[in-house]
C-alpha cells in the first residue's frame, strides 16, 4: 500500500437477485483528501458505501486499510468503526431529545458508565476545535439541521477516524449551512482524514473535492482529478451519453389560458391566508428559503393540512377542498416534499404504489384488476424508465430517484389536470432531473397546470413562467416574463426594496 493511501477497494462485486449492483469496482482514497463518489441513481454508490461499512457482505474483491497488513473483512458497522471507518448518513441518526454532548458520547463510554463532567469537557473542546457553533448542554433538537449534521460528524471523527463517509450530507441544508459544513470538511482534511463525499450537487463537488470517482450501472467509469474534469464532462461520464444540453429545455412563454384553479384567502392550520391562481397549461412555482411557507402553501391547496378558511374555485366553479381526496377528485395531484415520509409505501410493490392514487379516486368498491394494474405499472415503468427488477419489487428497495419516479407515475396515472410538485428533483441525479423538467413542460404543453417547487432557482427559472416568492410565511412578490432572472429572484427573496 502506498504511503499516502488510506483505503483501497479492489474488484468489489455485489449481486442482488437479478441485479449486478457492483461489478469489479476499484476505489482508492488518499489521506487528507476529499474524494467525491458520483453516479446516477442505481449506479452503485450506496451499495459501495454499504459494502464498505459492513451493511452488506461483498460477493467478491478485497478491501485494504492503512495500518492493517492483510485485506480486511468488514462484517458489520461496528467492524467498520473498529477499522476507523465512520459514516454520517443523509438522515440524521442522532437523538434530538438528548444534549449535544450526550449525542457525541452516548453508547461509547466504557462499560456503560458515564462521567458527565468529563464528557461535557471533551465535547466542548471538540466543538471548539472543529468550530461547530453549539454548546455541549444544548438540546440537539434545538440546533439547526446543519449543526446537527456537524455534531454527527464530530461524533464520527472523534473515534480515531481514518475514513469519513458523508452520504448526501447537504441535501437538507441551505447555502450558508453548506458553507459551514465545507469549512469543517476542509479542516478535517487538513488533519489527514480521508473523506468520501457522496452528493448530487455538482457545484458542491467542485467547491470542495479533490478527486472524483464515477460509477455507472454498477461499474467503474474512472477516477479523475477535479481540476481536470469540467462539469459537462462529469455529467457525460455519469449518464453515459452525450448530455442533452439543459438549455434545450424551452419553457412556454406565452401567457396561460383560462384559469383552472383559483383560491382567495386560503389558509390552513400551517399556512397564513393567501391568494393564488393557476391557468390551464401554466407552469408556476413557489420559491423562497426553507421555512418561508412555500411547502405549507401548496399543502393547503391540496388539503393536506386541515383547511381553516378561504374560497376555492376549480374551472370557475366553487368547490370545497378539505382533505386530499377532495383535491384528487378535482383532478389535483400532489407530490410531497418528503417522499420517504409522505410519499412511498415502502413495503408495497412498485405496482401497488403506482396505482394507489387512481385506486383511491375510484373508491373502495371498484378495485383495479390485477391485469389492469400490471398493464398500468408496466406502461409507466417504461415511460419513466423506472429501474426496477419487476413491478412486484417493493418500492422501498429502489433508489431515491426511482422512488420519486414511482410517485410521479402514481399521479400521472390519475391524469391530473393540475399537478403540484414539491421538490421533485431533490436528491436525485442529473439525468432524472432533466427528465422530470422535460416532463413538466410536456404536461404543460398538453394543457395541464403545474406548480413546481425547487430549492434550485436555476431549475425554477428554466421551467416556470411565473414565480411566487415567499418570505416569512407571506407572499412577498410575483415575478414573470422579463423579471425572471436569478438576480431579481434573489433580491425579492432577500427583501429590502426593489
Amino acid at each position: 500500500m502506498q504511503d499516502d493511501v488510506v483505503l483501497t477497494m479492489r474488484g468489489i462485486c455485489k449481486y442482488f437477485p437479478g441485479v449486478k449492483a457492483l461489478e469489479n469496482v476499484d476505489f482508492t482514497l488518499r489521506k487528507g483528501t476529499i474524494h467525491a463518489l458520483m453516479g446516477e441513481n442505481g449506479a452503485g454508490k450506496s451499495t459501495l458505501i454499504k459494502v464498505l461499512t459492513g451493511v452488506y457482505p461483498m460477493d467478491g474483491g478485497e478491501i485494504r486499510i492503512d495500518g492493517v497488513e492483510d485485506a480486511i473483512v468488514i462484517r458489520s458497522p461496528q467492524d467498520a468503526q473498529s477499522y476507523g471507518i465512520s459514516t454520517v448518513y443523509q438522515e440524521i441518526t442522532l437523538c434530538p431529545n438528548l444534549t449535544v454532548a450526550e449525542n457525541m458520547f452516548i453508547g461509547r463510554s466504557p462499560k456503560g458508565r458515564v462521567d458527565w463532567k468529563q464528557m461535557e469537557k471533551r465535547s466542548g473542546e471538540l466543538l471548539q476545535k472543529l468550530g461547530i457553533p453549539a454548546r455541549p448542554r444544548q438540546q440537539l433538537g434545538n440546533c439547526s439541521l446543519a449543526v446537527q449534521q456537524m455534531v454527527a460528524i464530530a461524533r464520527a471523527v472523534d473515534t480515531d477516524c481514518k475514513v469519513l463517509i458523508l452520504d448526501e450530507p447537504t441535501s437538507s441544508l441551505d447555502d450558508k449551512e453548506v458553507e459551514m459544513l465545507f469549512t469543517l470538511m476542509r479542516q478535517l482534511k487538513e488533519s489527514g482524514v480521508g473523506i468520501i463525499f457522496v452528493t448530487h450537487f455538482l457545484e458542491q463537488v467542485y467547491a470542495v473535492s479533490d478527486q472524483i470517482t464515477v460509477l455507472r450501472n454498477g461499474q467503474l467509469v474512472g477516477e479523475y482529478e477535479v481540476r481536470e474534469l469540467p462539469q459537462v464532462k462529469l455529467v457525460e461520464k455519469m449518464i453515459g451519453k452525450d448530455l442533452e444540453d439543459l438549455s434545450s429545455i424551452k419553457k412556454k412563454e406565452s401567457d396561460a389560458g383560462e384559469e383552472f384553479y383559483g383560491a382567495q384567502g386560503l389558509s390552513s392550520s400551517e399556512s397564513r391566508p393567501f391568494d393564488f391562481h393557476i391557468g390551464k397549461g401554466e407552469v408556476n412555482g413557489f420559491t423562497g428559503l426553507l421555512g418561508s411557507g412555500r411547502s405549507e402553501s401548496v399543502r393547503a391547496i391540496f388539503g393536506a393540512d386541515p383547511v381553516t378558511g378561504g374560497t376555492v374555485k376549480v374551472n370557475g366553479k366553487k368547490v370545497k377542498i378539505a382533505k386530499p381526496l377532495d383535491a384528487m377528485k378535482q383532478g389535483i395531484g400532489y407530490l410531497p416534499e418528503d417522499r420517504k415520509r409522505d410519499g412511498i409505501i415502502a413495503d408495497l410493490s412498485v405496482r401497488e404504489n403506482i396505482i394507489l392514487a387512481l385506486q383511491v379516486i375510484k373508491g373502495i368498491r371498484h378495485p383495479i384488476s390485477r391485469a389492469k394494474a400490471e398493464e398500468f405499472a408496466d406502461e409507466y415503468i417504461k415511460a419513466l424508465a423506472i429501474k426496477t427488477a419487476s413491478s412486484d419489487t417493493p418500492v422501498g428497495s429502489l433508489s431515491g430517484g426511482n422512488q420519486q419516479k414511482v410517485i410521479l407515475a402514481r399521479w400521472l396515472l390519475t391524469h391530473p389536470q393540475y399537478l403540484i410538485l414539491d421538490e421533485p428533483t431533490r436528491g436525485i441525479d442529473v439525468g432524472t432531473k432533466t427528465e422530470i423538467q422535460k416532463l413538466v413542460l410536456q404536461l404543460a404543453e398538453e394543457g395541464k397546470s403545474i406548480t413546481f417547487i425547487s430549492s434550485e432557482i436555476e431549475e425554477m427559472l428554466r421551467t416556470c413562467s411565473r414565480l411566487i416568492v415567499m418570505r416569512d410565511r407571506n407572499i412577498v412578490g410575483e415575478l414573470k416574463g422579463e423579471e425572471l432572472t436569478q438576480e431579481r429572484v434573489m433580491r425579492t427573496i432577500a427583501g429590502g426594496g426593489e
Partner: protein, 357 residues
C-alpha cells in the same frame, strides 16, 4: 418447469414457509409416532347420521374459532400495528347475546338468524368502540382493547344474569356439530364460508391495499386520499364480526354459554397464529393464509399433545418450547442466516445452479 413454478411461489410467499414447515414437522412427528394418526373414517353419530371421524377432522374442526379470529386479528394487526386482546371477551359477549335472544322463545330457524344478526351487531358495536379508541384517540391497540379484555366477561355475565344457560335444539346442534346428512363438521364449513367472504372482500374491494397502505405509512396513505381513521375502524369492526361468528360456534358446539371459559385465552393463540404466519406484528403487509396456517399449526400442536397424553401440568411447557422454536425460525436473524447458509450450500454444489440459468 413445475419445480420452477413452485420455487417462484415460495419466493413470493416465503412467509408461508414457517407455518408450512411447522405443520409438516408435526405431521411427520405424528406419523412416526402413530402411522394411523391421520386416518379418517365415517361412522354414525348418536342421531344416526354419518359423520367423519379422525384426528385430522378434530384438528380442522377444533381450530375453527381460532382460524376465524386470527383472520380478523391479521387485519387489525396490519392496519393498526397492534393487537386486539379482547377477542375472547368479545366472543363471550357475542355468544351471550346469541343465547339471550334464543332463550326468549322457541329456537326456530328465523330466530337463530335473528340471534346471529343481533350478536353480530353487538360485536360490531364493541369492535367499533375498540376501533375508535385506536383510530380516533390514537391509543395503542393493546391498551385500548385492555378495557374490554378486563370487563368483557363481566358484561357477558350481566347479559344472561350469570350461571351457564343451555340451549337444546337440533338447529343449534347443526351449527356447532353436524348438519344431518353432511358428514363434515359445520364449523369447518363456516370457516370455509368466512374464508370465501374474506376472499371476496379482497377481490371486490380494495380493503387489502388500503389496510396495508395505512399500516405501512399512515401519513402517505392520508396524502393519497385514504381514510386512515375509517380503515382502522373498519378493521376492528370486521374483527368484531369474526368474534361474533366464533362466539356463535363456541356456544353452539355444546349448546351452552359459560362466559368465563368460552374461548378463554384465545386472544393469545390468535396473536400467535398471526405471528407464526409470518405477519409483522408492527403492521403493514400481511398474508391471511399465513395466519390461517398458523392457527391450524397451533391446533395440531394441541391435539398432538393430547394424543401423546402429556401430563396436564406439563402441557403449557411443551407448547412453549415448540412455540419458541417456531417464532425463532421466523425471526429475521435466523432467516438471514438460513438464506446465507443456503447460498453457500448452492455455491458448493453447483449442480443446483441449473435452475438459476
Amino acid at each position: 418447469m413445475k419445480k420452477a413454478k413452485a420455487s417462484k411461489f415460495f419466493a413470493k410467499n416465503s412467509q408461508l414457509l414457517i407455518p408450512l414447515i411447522a405443520i409438516l414437522l408435526l405431521v411427520i412427528f405424528n406419523l412416526l409416532r402413530d402411522p394411523s394418526f391421520f386416518s379418517i373414517g365415517i361412522s354414525a353419530n348418536n342421531r344416526g347420521d354419518p359423520v367423519l371421524q379422525g384426528n385430522l377432522v378434530s384438528i380442522l374442526n377444533g381450530a375453527s374459532e381460532l382460524v376465524i379470529l386470527s383472520m380478523g386479528m391479521t387485519l387489525v394487526t396490519a392496519a393498526a400495528g397492534g393487537q386486539d386482546i379482547s377477542v375472547g371477551a368479545l366472543a363471550a359477549i357475542a355468544g351471550s347475546v346469541f343465547v339471550k335472544v334464543l332463550k326468549g322463545g322457541e329456537v326456530t330457524g328465523p330466530m337463530v338468524l335473528v340471534a346471529f344478526l343481533a350478536c353480530c351487531a353487538v360485536a360490531m358495536v364493541f369492535g367499533a368502540f375498540n376501533g375508535s379508541l385506536v383510530s380516533f384517540f390514537r391509543i395503542q391497540p393493546m391498551i385500548a382493547t385492555l378495557i374490554l379484555f378486563t370487563c368483557g366477561r363481566s358484561i357477558a355475565y350481566w347479559i344472561n344474569g350469570g350461571a351457564t344457560p343451555t340451549l337444546e335444539s337440533p338447529i343449534i346442534n347443526a351449527i356447532g356439530s353436524f348438519i344431518p346428512g353432511i358428514p363434515i363438521p359445520t364449523p369447518i364449513l363456516i370457516v370455509i364460508v368466512m374464508g370465501i367472504l374474506f376472499g371476496l372482500a379482497f377481490r371486490f374491494t380494495t380493503l387489502s391495499l388500503y389496510v396495508q397502505t395505512v399500516g405501512i405509512n399512515q401519513g402517505a396513505a392520508r396524502l393519497n386520499g385514504v381514510n386512515t381513521v375509517g380503515i382502522k375502524l373498519l378493521s376492528f369492526v370486521i374483527l368484531g364480526v369474526c368474534c361474533a361468528v366464533a362466539g356463535m360456534i363456541g356456544v353452539s358446539r355444546l349448546g351452552l354459554i359459560n362466559h368465563e371459559t368460552l374461548l378463554i385465552n384465545i386472544e393469545m393463540d390468535a396473536i400467535l397464529a398471526v405471528a407464526i404466519g409470518g405477519n409483522n406484528l408492527g403492521g403493514g403487509k400481511f398474508k391471511l393464509l399465513g395466519s390461517v396456517l398458523g392457527a391450524y399449526a397451533i391446533q395440531m400442536l394441541t391435539i398432538t399433545l393430547y394424543a401423546m397424553k402429556v401430563p396436564s401440568t406439563d402441557v403449557k411447557a411443551y407448547k412453549a418450547v415448540v412455540i419458541i422454536i417456531l417464532v425463532a425460525m421466523g425471526s429475521p436473524v435466523v432467516k438471514n442466516n438460513m438464506s446465507r447458509f443456503w447460498k453457500k450450500f448452492k455455491r458448493n454444489h453447483p449442480a443446483g445452479e441449473k435452475e438459476v440459468a
